[in-house]
């Protein structure tokens, strides 16, 4: 187990990528704040969630190193994301038709 971990820990991405991702996250946050002041009607939630999803992807894949991990971890994350998506979908069946 420890050998495999060392293999991943040795993977170096350099600070450059982290700074780019950080700037991207800041940029996306400012877009969220800006859009909050604009009335997008029924698209408001969709846009906000899309931006949040992109931010989550960046954090999970780069900062949490999942991009460089074994497929099993990606499967785990995928299961969690799918569960969340299904929970969202089922909740919308209430919100939309209420």
């Amino acid at each position: 187990m420890s050998h495999e971990n060392e293999k991943h820990e040795n993977h170096s991405t350099g600070y450059g990528l982290y700074i780019i991702v950080w700037l991207a996250l800041l940029g996306l946050t400012s877009i969220t704040v800006t859009i909050a002041g604009i009335d997008l009607g029924s698209y408001t939630l969709f846009v906000a969630l899309t931006i949040a999803a992109i931010k989550s992807y960046l954090v999970i894949s780069i900062f949490m190193h999942i991009k460089y991990e074994d497929p099993i971890f990606k499967v785990f994350i995928l299961i969690s994301v799918l569960t969340l998506a299904v929970i969202f979908l089922l909740t919308y069946f209430d919100i939309i038709y209420r």
Partner: protein, 548 residues
């Protein structure tokens, strides 16, 4: 009785610890040995169970006759809330995984310990911290919570009792659950002995594994919900309270998105224990091993998708109601798969009706009633009539107590000789099953009838036509108190006076029965190599097992 191969020369984990001294309180509360942690959980969880049971008995005593009997209405509200909070968060959610999962999961897969032993100890400490916070919520000025264990909005925002403390306790307890889950998932993936493929794992491991996934994925949702509720209480931010512009149904969604899968956190490990006990006492390999293993995963998955069946009368959309009702019926399928496979395992088996097996028989009967009445409540039309009545109370007690609670006791009777190296009084244990079964049905079956007649749950008082059934139910609570006392007395007494248990008193073939009772510190002297199927009873010959 029966005999198994014993290795009497080695030191047990009681004589050898992970701390400097193997004796004394510190050797327990700072031990990273999964078995000691399991027993720490057993002591703490059993204590809370007794407290919760006493509160339940007091509630039943209050309801023995209409009007005030022993407590006022506010105390009654606080008593049923506390009963629910203790039984759910401190007993039944952690119960089987934390005690028996900790003790037996590593042994079952041939490992020396869990993947993260120190994290395991931390889980127990977090559990105790959460329990301490819950205790503070009772004793602090403001008084115990009176909202019911579901903390429904808007009352939980407005109640002047210590709601914030109580839900913060639940928040902390959630972390204990998540850490245990992460530990078990990692242990199953990384710590299996050579030859222990996924489909050679005992079914208890499968169900604990499925449970661990729910613990990890679902528990954060209640944590976030609790934080939102605390923010609303302290800062008046309108999230759930309609008076502040919030949506109370959103709270119910979030609460049940966790709390319904939590029902499966409670019942799945119990189903795993059943899958261990039935083959051992039928001397037959389990019928449909893969079907049972997959049905655990299916229950864990579909269990996520049915939460709104708790909310059929809350004002959710008709479309949502129909979808959730359908999904609720679907979750009954994997449960049915398990029941039929268990019964098929017993068919033409060589049944040895020892106490653990008898408890499982009681479970199958009680859990089937609980499960089938769940379908009555999952149907939209009948739920309108029965929602928030005693019918619901009876249903979930049959599932939770009749299901998980009964198996908690079955697991104790099954694994007690392994955990403590002592055998309890078998005859008394047999009588106790009968008493428990009678007590259970006397206590809870009248609630089905009262619920059908329209008796609402959580009411302090009732109309005179319910008097007889309420009285019978209270008598049942006294019988139950006697049964629980006899169980505890029988087990605790065996620690001193019980005869020494053999390594394999029941003729089981999973790995825990192939090591000494109680097990040595690192479970196995050499790493076992697994060559047999998990319930291959031809191994008994190799194990020199002789039954008389």
């Amino acid at each position: 009785m029966s005999d198994g191969k014993t290795v009497a020369t080695e030191k047990s984990f009681y004589e050898e610890g992970t701390t400097k001294s193997p004796k004394g309180i510190k050797s327990w509360i700072f031990s990273t040995d999964h078995k000691r942690i399991g027993i720490l959980y057993l002591c703490s969880i059993a204590t809370f169970f007794v407290v919760g049971a006493i509160l339940g008995i007091l509630m039943r005593l209050e309801l023995i006759a209409p009007g005030r009997t022993i407590m006022d209405a506010q105390t009654y509200n606080q008593t049923f809330t506390l009963h629910g909070v203790i039984m759910i968060f401190l007993f039944i959610v952690p119960g089987l995984p934390a005690i028996f999962g900790n003790f037996f999961l590593p042994i079952h897969i041939g490992a020396k310990d869990v993947a993260f032993p120190r994290l395991n100890l931390l889980s127990w400490w977090i559990y105790i911290t959460g329990a301490f916070l819950a205790l503070l919520a009772i004793t602090m000025p403001g008084g115990p919570v009176d909202t019911g264990w579901t903390f429904y909005i808007p009352y939980s925002v407005r109640s002047t009792t210590n709601v914030s403390w109580a839900i913060f306790a639940a928040f902390v307890l959630g972390f204990s659950s998540i850490l245990t889950g992460i530990n078990f998932i990692t242990t199953v993936h990384r710590m299996r002995a050579p030859g222990m493929t996924y489909f050679k794992m005992p079914l208890f491991v499968w169900s604990t594994y499925a449970t661990a996934w729910i613990q990890v994925i679902a528990t954060p949702i209640i944590a976030i919900t609790i934080l939102l509720l605390i923010i609303e209480r302290f800062f008046g931010v309108g999230i759930f309270d309609p008076a502040l512009g919030g949506d109370p149904i959103l709270y119910q969604h979030l609460f049940w998105i966790y709390s319904h899968p939590a029902v499966y956190i409670m019942i799945l490990p119990a189903m795993g224990v059943v899958s261990e006990i039935i083959p051992t006492f039928s001397r037959r390999t389990i019928f449909g091993y893969k079907a049972i293993a997959y049905s655990s995963l299916a229950i864990a998955f579909v269990g996520y998708l049915v939460w709104a069946h708790h909310m059929f009368t809350s004002g959710i959309s008709d479309t949502a109601r129909i979808i959730f009702s359908l999904l609720t019926f679907i979750v009954a399928l994997p449960s049915g798969v398990k029941i039929f496979n268990w019964v098929a395992t017993m068919y033409k088996g060589s049944i040895d009706p020892k106490p653990p097996f008898l408890w499982v028989m009681a479970f199958i009967f009680l859990f089937s009633i609980g499960g089938l009445t769940g379908l009555v409540l999952g149907s939209l039309a009948t739920d309108i009539h029965l929602h928030d009545t005693y019918f619901v109370v009876a249903h979930f007690h049959y599932v939770m107590f009749g299901g998980t609670g009964t198996i908690f006791i079955a697991a104790l009777f099954y694994w007690w000789p392994k955990m403590f190296g002592r055998m309890y009084n078998i005859k008394l244990a047999n009588y106790t099953v009968v008493l428990y079964f009678i007590a259970f049905n006397t206590l809870y079956f009248p609630k089905f009838i009262m619920g059908y007649m329209g008796m609402p749950r959580r009411y302090y008082d009732y109309l005179s036509e319910f008097t007889t059934l309420q009285f019978i139910s209270t008598i049942g609570s006294w019988l139950m108190a006697v049964a629980i006392f006899l169980i505890i007395w029988n087990l605790v007494r065996s620690l001193k006076t019980g005869r020494i248990a053999h390594a394999n008193p029941w003729g089981g073939v999973t790995l825990e029965w192939q090591i000494a009772s109680p097990p040595p510190l690192e479970n196995f002297h050499e790493v076992p190599v697994i060559t047999h199927e998990p319930y291959d009873f031809s191994q008994l010959k190799e194990m020199d097992y002789e039954s008389k």
